[in-house]
Amino acid sequence: MARQIVIDPVTRIEGHAKITILLDDQGAVEDALFHVTQFRGFEKFVEGRPFHEMPAVMARICGICPVSHLVASAKACDALLAVRIPETAVKLRRLLNLAQFVQSHALSFFHLSSPDLLMGMDADPAQRNIFGVIQQQPELARDGVRLRQIGQKIIEILAGKRIHPSWVVPGGVSNPLTAERREQILAMIPDAFAIIHRTLDWYKIAFEQFRDEIRVFGNIPSLFLGLVTESEPGEHNAMFEHYDGKFRFVDESGNIVLDQVDPARYMDYIGEAVEPHSYLKSPYFKPKGYPNGIYRVGPLARLNIIDRCGTPQADREWTEFRALRRGVVLSSFHYHYARLIEILYSVETIQRLLNEPDILSPKVRAEAGVNALEGVGVSEAPRGLLIHHYKINEQGLLTWANMIIATGHNNLAMNQSVLQVAKHFVVSEKLTEGMLNRVEAVIRCYDPCLSCSTHAAGKMPLQIELKNSRGEVIDELVRG
């Protein structure tokens, strides 16, 4: 008899989602689906609003990564103003975006995933959470809390507040950086370096015990997409980029499929399919069609598409990372590793930017009216490529908006990853915690950001239902 296992809600991710595992008559996994169950509607309700409000409105999409939306939205608005914003404003926005990488990656790695990594996938769920980490390895928990605090503090120092600041505006930023604030940020850098190096050392030993998981946690062929620095197309000298730059698509063997594409032309290459089981659209690489055009974005993709990071310490770690596999690193388990290397890159770059001579320049905003009726803003959010695309009328009021968020890009890959893990680990009709936790854990690798809500404490109840082909519940497991 065909059966269905539903994991609802998926815990320790940002937002609300559920997973359905479909079993065939023999009890083997036939299919698995990742559903995003919440509907937001931002693209609709911003219609008619002045575009100058967009960065702050769009930042409300998420409480974890408001800065990412601020940056991408402000870039789309810059395109509507059709101005080149002051160089110092670009640097300040970069600083803010990197601080966001530090805090968000720290949240994902330490608060959400380190319980699995420290205690193993089969540990008691009552212990397998951040509080368990605090008990078992307090220094790891302390490092996580401190590192996230540093990222948040930098955002607060730059933008006025930690969550939903409105400092990034169309044309630049609203206030310049002061010398005193620069010193406050610089004073935290040594601490950040010490923590990230300590964590990398710990992780490189810890992940060895997850060989099984690494083999089947989204270890799938796919394309990888992200921004790289501008260079000659196809030449292997592009570096890590998170604010400007061009698109690069790389295939599962590490070959460059498409390079140096203007992000404003994203629609030429990215299509969006809609599946009835989820509110999350499924973007795909148009030339390969749907669903073959599966691609991944985010830390793993970013480290797979570049030829080097561009900072000395991150480059050393990156070289080691890429040696994990010939070509590109395919297993989504390594998103965790990539996240740590990106934190290191971010800390190095924050330090470099703060020491640039023009970082305190008071010229941080370009003023202009409506000079273009359509604008695209693209940046790298911690979870991957973020696209904001607006159309306005002559008055500057929004007539249309489209956004593709990182979690959307990864949708097809997350579905395939869930299926791969379920096929490998859900082998009997008897459900176990460890089995189901692995299905959730592969989703956590992608650190999906499904909305502005977070369940960082791992306290959400988990309900699993076994259903037969007629939809009747034949078994139920509840934890909470």
Binding site: G48, H52, V57, P170, S174, Q395, G396
Partner: protein
């Protein structure tokens, strides 16, 4: 020629919140209260503009009166006993402000006037944490046709400060009210787009006297619109001095 007779204005004494205060009979309760350092909350009132008692936030209890009276338009009388603050008044004031929030789309978090809005600060002062009635979510438009200013009906509380300043101070009478009750709206000229108005001088007085984000300067992002209202009193003083 004999000198003009000086109009006789009688001096009265009254009690406000139990305090004996002196005033002249042409003064309002609000003016006398402020002279004596007694706070009465107001929203549609603005020093320098004629008062209309529209918002009812400044309602006070007057001994012997069978209804509450707005302090901004009620003149003092000999022997009056006024209470400006009581549990009942706070309850009414809170309800009025809650109704203003429920009536239109006041989204403070992303409003250009966030942090500099009189409606928002009034709610904070009154200790409003929730709106206890259902929001109406009306579908209202934004007029951004003017080269320098934006009018957003979503944030308007119909205080008519814009109408009054434009008519009484600027002398243009670009703004007026159209419709009645819940359908009332401020309009420019004969409900034409602001940018097409032939009477608007573009002085910006309406923008700066507006208590909320209903009238703002174009190009302002969230929380960036700071209103400057000192000009009004200065203008009025200069005009009085000339007369």
């Amino acid at each position: 020629m004999s000198p003009q007779p000086v109009p006789q204005v009688r001096v009265v004494t009254l009690k406000i919140d139990g305090r004996d205060v002196g005033a002249t009979e042409d003064e309002t309760i609000l003016e006398v209260a402020r002279q004596n350092g007694i706070f009465i909350p107001t929203l549609c009132y603005l020093d320098g503009l004629p008062s209309i008692g529209a918002c009812r936030i400044c309602l006070c209890e007057i001994k012997g009166a069978n209804k509450l009276l707005p302090a901004c338009v009620t003149r003092v009388q000999e022997g009056m006993e006024v209470t400006t603050d009581s549990e009942r008044l706070t309850r009414y004031r809170k309800t009025i402000v809650e109704m203003l929030f429920a009536e239109r789309n006041h989204v403070c978090a992303v409003c250009v006037s966030n942090g500099h809005c009189e409606l928002q600060s009034m709610a904070q002062k009154l200790g409003i944490t929730h709106v206890h009635m259902p929001y109406r979510y009306p579908k209202l438009t934004v007029d951004a046709t003017h080269a320098r200013f934006v009018q957003d009906d979503n944030r308007c509380v119909l205080c008519t400060r814009c109408v009054r300043v434009c008519d009484e101070v600027e002398g243009a009478h670009t703004w007026d009210i159209m419709g009645r009750g819940i359908d009332a709206r401020v309009i420019t000229d004969l409900n034409q787009a602001w940018g097409d108005s032939s009477s608007c001088t573009g002085c910006g007085k309406c923008v700066h006297v507006c208590p909320t984000g209903a009238l703002t300067e174009k190009g302002r992002s969230t929380a960036e619109m700071v209103k400057k209202q000192q000009f009004l009193q200065y203008l009025m003083q200069m005009r009085e001095a000339k007369q």
